[in-house]
C-alpha cells in the first residue's frame, strides 16, 4: 500500500518547483500515478510510505503541445490517449497511434503520460523507443536562485539504465521535444503477455518517408525496446536502407543485424527471433501506413488495422 504524509497538487510550475525543492528526502513526483500505485504492492516494493507526493497533473505549463520548425514540444502532461484522439498529433507523429493503442488500455491511457513513461526508465517502456526514433529530447526545469531555468537533454543521454536517469535533485521534466514526421508512414510492434494492460517483452518502431516520384527511402527511423537496458536506435540499419527502393529481400537482410544486438539477460534466443520478425514487420507496416505496401509483403497486423 502507498501512503504519504502530504499530497500536493501545485497549479503552476514555479509552485511545483518550490514544493519539490522543499520536499523532504524520499518524496516523489507523480503525474498519472498509474505506475507508482501498482509498484507499492506486495511482491514489488511492498508497503511504501512517502513524506510527500507532488502531483504535476494540474500544472498549467505542462499541458498541451506546440509545433515549430519541424519539432514538437509535448507538455509533460500529455497523456497517451491524446495520441489516439488528437488528429493533429496523429499526423505529426505517425508512429504514436500504433504505440498508444498497444499501451495499457483506454482507461489507463487517460491518466498515463508519455513523459512519466520516459522518466520511469523501464527497459520495457512502450513510449521510449518511438521517442528515440524521433530524435527526442527532454526539457527539464529547475529553480536557480528562485528563477526558473531550463535545460534540454537528448532522451538517449537522459536514460542511463533500468530506472536510472540524469534527472538531478530539484529538477522536473516539463516537456518532450521531438521531430515532427508529417507525411511519414509509422508503425509499432509489440509482444506482451496479452493484448491489453501489459508492458512489452520486445517492441519495435519504424517511421519511413518515401520520395514521391521515385519511391526510394528519403528517411527511415528504426528503434527497438525491451532487448537491452536502454532502447536502441538502429542507425546501421537505417543507413543501409536510406536511398533504396525497398524490396522484401532487402528488408529481410536488414533485419539480421538488429537481432545480434539483443543483450537481455532473460529469454535472449526468443528475443532474437522476435526482433528479426519485428524489424521486418515494422518496416513493412510503416510502408503500408504511407500507402506503399510491398506487393509481396507478408500479411501482418496492418492487414487488420
Amino acid at each position: 500500500m502507498l501512503t504519504c504524509d502530504r499530497y500536493h497538487m501545485p497549479t503552476s510550475l514555479a509552485e511545483a518547483l518550490a514544493m519539490w525543492r522543499d520536499a523532504p528526502d524520499g518524496s516523489r513526483l507523480v503525474a498519472g500515478a498509474t505506475d507508482i500505485l501498482p509498484w507499492a504492492r506486495e511482491g514489488r516494493a511492498g508497503n511504501v510510505h512517502l513524506p510527500a507526493m507532488i502531483d504535476l497533473s494540474r500544472v498549467a505549463e505542462l499541458n498541451g503541445y506546440t509545433v515549430a520548425a519541424g519539432r514538437i514540444r509535448l507538455g509533460a502532461n500529455v497523456v497517451y490517449q491524446q495520441f489516439l484522439t488528437d488528429e493533429k498529433l496523429r499526423a505529426l507523429m505517425p508512429c504514436m497511434p500504433y504505440c498508444a493503442i498497444w499501451f495499457a488500455d483506454d482507461q489507463i491511457r487517460q491518466q498515463a503520460t508519455l513523459a512519466g513513461n520516459i522518466v520511469n526508465a523501464s527497459p520495457a517502456a512502450d513510449g521510449t523507443p518511438p521517442i528515440f526514433a524521433l530524435n527526442g529530447e527532454l526539457e527539464i526545469a529547475r529553480l536557480d536562485d528562485g528563477a526558473i531555468s531550463h535545460r534540454t537533454i537528448a532522451v538517449s543521454d537522459f536514460i542511463k539504465g533500468p530506472g536510472a536517469t540524469d534527472l538531478q535533485p530539484g529538477e522536473i521534466v516539463t516537456a518532450v521535444i521531438c521531430d515532427t514526421l508529417e507525411g511519414y508512414g509509422g508503425s509499432f510492434q509489440k509482444v506482451g503477455q496479452r493484448r491489453s494492460l501489459v508492458i512489452s517483452s520486445v517492441c519495435a518502431v519504424a517511421c519511413i518517408k518515401l520520395d514521391d516520384s521515385t519511391g526510394t527511402v528519403t528517411d527511415i527511423r528504426l528503434a527497438l525496446g525491451g532487448i537491452s537496458p536502454v532502447p536502441l536506435r538502429l542507425t546501421e540499419t537505417e543507413k543501409m536502407l536510406t536511398g533504396k527502393q525497398l524490396t522484401r529481400d532487402m528488408i529481410v537482410e536488414a533485419a539480421r543485424l538488429p537481432a545480434e544486438l539483443v543483450a537481455s539477460r532473460t529469454r535472449r534466443e526468443y528475443r532474437r527471433t522476435v526482433v528479426r520478425g519485428f524489424v521486418e514487420a515494422a518496416i513493412e507496416d510503416a510502408l503500408a501506413d504511407c500507402g506503399s505496401a510491398l506487393p509481396n509483403a507478408e500479411t501482418r497486423e496492418t492487414a487488420n488495422v
Binding site: 502530504r6 498509474t34 483506454d106 482507461q107 493484448r195
Partner: protein, 632 residues
C-alpha cells in the same frame, strides 16, 4: 512502514449529479473513497493494480481505473459511478438492460466495471463495431463468460441506442414450454448490472473492525515463538489472534482435517496464515501485522511430488510419513496380457502446471457474534454447511450457535470451497465482541489459496494395428501442496475419468495425491479430469499419428457406446461421445486424414470459424468504404 501522521485532503466534487464537500485521507485512492467513505460499492477492487477494471468510473466524462487514482486528483471533478448511470433510484439504462437480456452477468463481480466500459465505448463511438468494442473493453477482465455474451450485449445496446433496433429487443423473450432451448432470464441480473448487489467485501456493520493477516515467508519452518505484544499495544488495535486462541479441536479440510485455522507450531507453505490483527481500520491492522515478531527455524522442505514420495524425504505432516494424501488404485482385466497382445505400445509422460482460479472477487468475509451468542460468518463460501460443522468443532460451540451465511460468490470455480480464513474471522469476532471484516488483496489471494493440482502422468497404451486399444496403464502423481483440502476427491475423479470415454478391456490406474511444501492444491473446475483428459487426448493423437489413422477415426474405433460398462463398473445407458465427435468434426471443417498431414496440404485451416490473430487499431482502421469514423 515508518511512524507517520496521516494528513487529509479537502475535496469539492460532484458525484452522480450531487455536489459534495468532504475530506479524505491522503493515502486513499478514489476507489477507497467512493467505497468506504461514500458507501458506493458498485465499483469493486479486483486487483488494486489497474489490471482488471472492476473499479472503472467516469471522472470528468473519461473512464478511468479508480484504483490507480490518488483521491486528491478527484478534487474539482465530476465523478460518475455505476450507481449514477441510472440516476438515483432510476430505471436501468439500455446497456444494463442489454447485459440482462443476453445473460452477460454470471458471478457479476466484473459487471459494474464492464457496464461502465461498455457505456464509455458507446459514448466515445456510438457506432463502434465489434472489433472496436472488444478493444475498448480491453481493460476489463471477466473470468466467467468468455466475453461472448458481454460483446453481444454491447452490440445490442448500441443498436437500441442508435435507433437501429427497437427498444423492445431488450424485453424478456417469451418463455417457451420448456426451459431447455429457451433463454431464461437470470433473476439476479438486475442487481448485478446496476452494481446494487453487495458481496462480502462490500458489507459493513456498525462498529466493524478490519482484519489483516501475517503470512509465512517460509515454505517449511518450525515456529519457535510469536510475540504479538507490540501489535496489541498499537493504538486502534482490538486484538491479535493466533493458533493459541482456538478453543476447540483445530483442523479443517474437505476430506482430511489436517489444516489448522492458523499455523500451529509449524508453517508448511509460503503464504500460510500465522497471525491476524483486527483493528479500527485496515491501515492500522497492516501496521500492527508488521509489528508481530515470529521466530522461525527453517527445516528441510520438499517441492516436487515425486521426490516427496521417496524414502527419507522431508515429512510434511506427521500423520502421513510417506507424504501420501491419497492413493486411488483401479484394476480391470489383465494389463500385462493386454500389452502382450498389442501390435504397438506407446509410452509418454505428461505434465500439467498449477493454475490459479483468478475469480474477480478476492476472498472476503465478515464475522460477528449476534445477540444470541451465535457465531456468524458471512463469506462467499462454496461449502457453507460443511464449514459450519467444522467451525463448531474448532471453536467448541454447539452447532446451533454457529451460522454461516453465503454471500454472493464473485467467481469460485472450486477455489472457495476451503475454509481458509473464516476461522480467523470467527476467532477475532469472539475475542472482541465486534464484527470483523477481512478482504484479501489480489496478491494474498494468489499466494495463499488453493490451486489446480499440478500433475505428472505416465501413460502407457497398447494398440492393435487397426487402432483398437488393448490395454492402458495410467499413473498420475499430483502435487497436493501443504494441506489436503480436496485432494482426495480430485484423485478419485481423476482415476474415474482417467481413460476418457473409451472402451478399454485391460486397465491399471493409480492416482496419487502427495504432500509437498508448495501452495496447497484443491478443487478446480473439472476436479482432476482436466489433467487426465489432457494426457488421454494427447496420447490418442500421438497413437493415431503412429498408426497413420485420422484422430477422429481412432476415437470412433475405441469410443464407448450405449450400454457400455466403465472401468469402475458403471453401466452407461446412453453415451454421447459419437455425436460429440460428429459435431466437432463438422464444426471444425476437419479434413479427414492422419494427424501428420499438415502445412500447405491442409485445406481446413484459417476458415470462417477460426479465431483470427490478435489485432488492435479498429478505431483508426483506414478502409475506404466506411461509415466508420476516422477518429474515435
Amino acid at each position: 512502514m515508518s511512524e507517520q501522521t496521516t494528513s487529509e485532503v479537502q475535496l469539492d466534487f460532484e458525484i452522480n449529479g450531487r455536489s459534495m464537500t468532504r475530506s479524505a485521507k491522503t493515502h486513499q485512492r478514489l476507489l477507497d473513497f467512493i467505497r468506504d467513505d461514500l458507501g458506493l460499492t458498485g465499483a469493486k477492487e479486483g486487483c488494486g493494480a489497474g489490471e482488471c477494471g472492476t473499479c472503472s468510473v467516469f471522472v470528468d466524462g473519461k473512464l478511468v481505473k479508480s484504483c490507480l487514482m490518488p483521491v486528491a486528483k478527484a478534487n474539482g471533478t465530476k465523478i460518475e459511478t455505476i450507481e449514477g448511470l441510472t440516476g438515483w433510484g432510476g430505471d436501468l439504462t439500455p446497456v444494463q438492460k442489454a447485459f440482462h437480456k443476453t445473460g452477460a452477468s454470471q458471478c457479476g463481480y466484473c459487471i459494474p466495471g464492464m457496464v461502465m466500459a461498455a457505456t464509455s465505448a458507446l459514448r466515445e463511438n456510438p457506432r463502434a463495431d465489434l472489433e472496436e468494442i472488444k478493444e475498448r473493453l480491453g481493460g476489463n477482465i471477466c473470468r466467467c463468460t468468455g466475453y461472448t455474451k458481454i460483446f453481444e450485449a454491447v452490440e445490442l445496446a448500441r443498436d437500441v441506442l442508435s435507433g437501429e433496433a427497437n427498444a423492445t429487443v431488450l424485453d424478456a423473450d417469451g418463455a417457451g414450454k420448456s426451459y431447455i432451448g429457451n433463454n431464461v432470464r437470470r433473476l439476479d441480473a438486475p442487481s448485478k448490472v446496476s452494481g446494487r448487489l453487495r458481496y462480502a467485501g462490500d458489507m459493513v456493520m456498525p462498529g466493524m473492525l478490519h482484519m489483516q493477516v501475517l503470512r509465512s515467508p517460509h515454505a517449511h519452518a518450525l515456529i519457535k515463538s510469536i510475540d504479538t505484544s507490540a501489535a496489541e499495544n498499537l493504538p486502534g488495535v482490538a486484538c491479535v489472534v493466533t493458533a493459541d486462541d482456538v478453543p476447540g479441536e483445530d483442523g479443517f479440510g474437505v476430506f482430511v482435517h489436517d489444516q489448522p485455522i492458523m499455523a500451529r507450531d509449524r508453517v508448511r507453505y509460503v503464504g500460510e496464515a500465522v497471525a491476524a490483527v483486527a483493528a479500527d481500520d485496515a491501515l492500522t491492522a497492516a501496521r500492527a501485522v508488521s509489528l508481530i515478531k515470529v521466530e522461525y527455524e527453517p527445516v528441510a522442505a520438499v517441492f516436487d511430488s515425486e521426490e516427496a514420495m521417496q524414502d527419507g524425504a522431508p515429512v510434511v505432516h506427521a500423520y502421513a510419513p510417506d507424504n501420501i494424501v491419497k492413493h486411488i488404485p483401479i484394476r480391470k482385466g489383465d494389463v500385462e496380457q493386454g500389452f502382450a497382445d498389442a501390435d504397438l505400445v506407446v509410452e509418454q509422460s505428461y505434465d500439467t502446471q498449477a493454475v490459479e482460479h483468478a475469480y474477480l472477487e478476492p476472498e472476503a468475509g465478515l464475522a460477528y457474534v449476534d445477540h444470541d451468542d451465535v457465531v456468524t460468518v458471512i463469506s462467499p463460501s462454496q461449502n457453507i454447511t460443511h464449514h459450519r460443522h467444522m467451525l463448531a468443532k474448532i471453536i467448541d460451540r454447539p452447532i446451533n450457535k454457529v451460522r454461516f451465511i453465503m454471500s454472493p460468490v464473485g467467481g469460485g470455480f472450486g477455489g472457495k470451497e476451503d475454509m481458509i480464513y473464516q476461522g480467523m474471522l470467527a476467532l477475532a469476532a469472539m475475542k472482541t465482541g465486534s464484527p470483523v471484516r477481512l478482504v484479501f488483496t489480489r496478491e494474498e489471494s494468489i499466494i495463499s489459496t488453493a490451486k489446480r493440482h499440478p500433475a505428472r502422468i505416465t501413460y502407457k497404451m497398447g494398440l492393435k494395428k487397426d487402432g483398437r486399444i488393448t490395454a492402458v496403464s495410467f499413473r498420475m502423481i499430483s502435487d497436493g501442496g501443504a494441506y489436503g483440502l480436496s485432494t482426495e476427491g480430485v484423485m478419485r475423479k481423476a482415476a474415474i475419468l482417467s481413460c476418457g470415454p473409451y472402451n478399454i478391456p485391460n486397465v491399471q490406474i493409480d492416482t496419487y495425491g502427495v504432500y509437498t511444501n508448495n501452495t496447497p492444491s484443491g478443487a478446480f473446475r473439472t476436479f482432476g479430469a482436466m489433467q487426465s483428459q489432457f494426457a488421454t487426448e494427447s496420447h490418442m493423437d500421438i497413437c493415431a499419428e503412429k498408426l497413420g489413422l485420422d484422430p477422429f477415426e481412432i476415437r470412433r474405433i475405441n469410443m464407448m457406446r450405449d450400454g457400455a460398462i466403465t472401468h469402475t463398473q458403471q453401466t452407461l445407458g446412453s453415451v454421447s461421445i459419437g455425436r460429440v465427435l460428429d459435431a466437432a468434426e463438422q464444426a471444425s471443417h476437419w479434413q479427414a486424414g492422419p494427424v501428420g498431414m499438415r502445412g500447405p496440404q491442409r485445406t481446413d485451416l484459417g476458415g470462417d470459424d477460426t479465431r483470427p490473430p490478435c489485432t488492435l487499431g479498429a478505431r483508426f482502421r483506414k478502409s475506404g468504404d466506411d461509415d466508420h469514423q476516422e477518429v474515435a
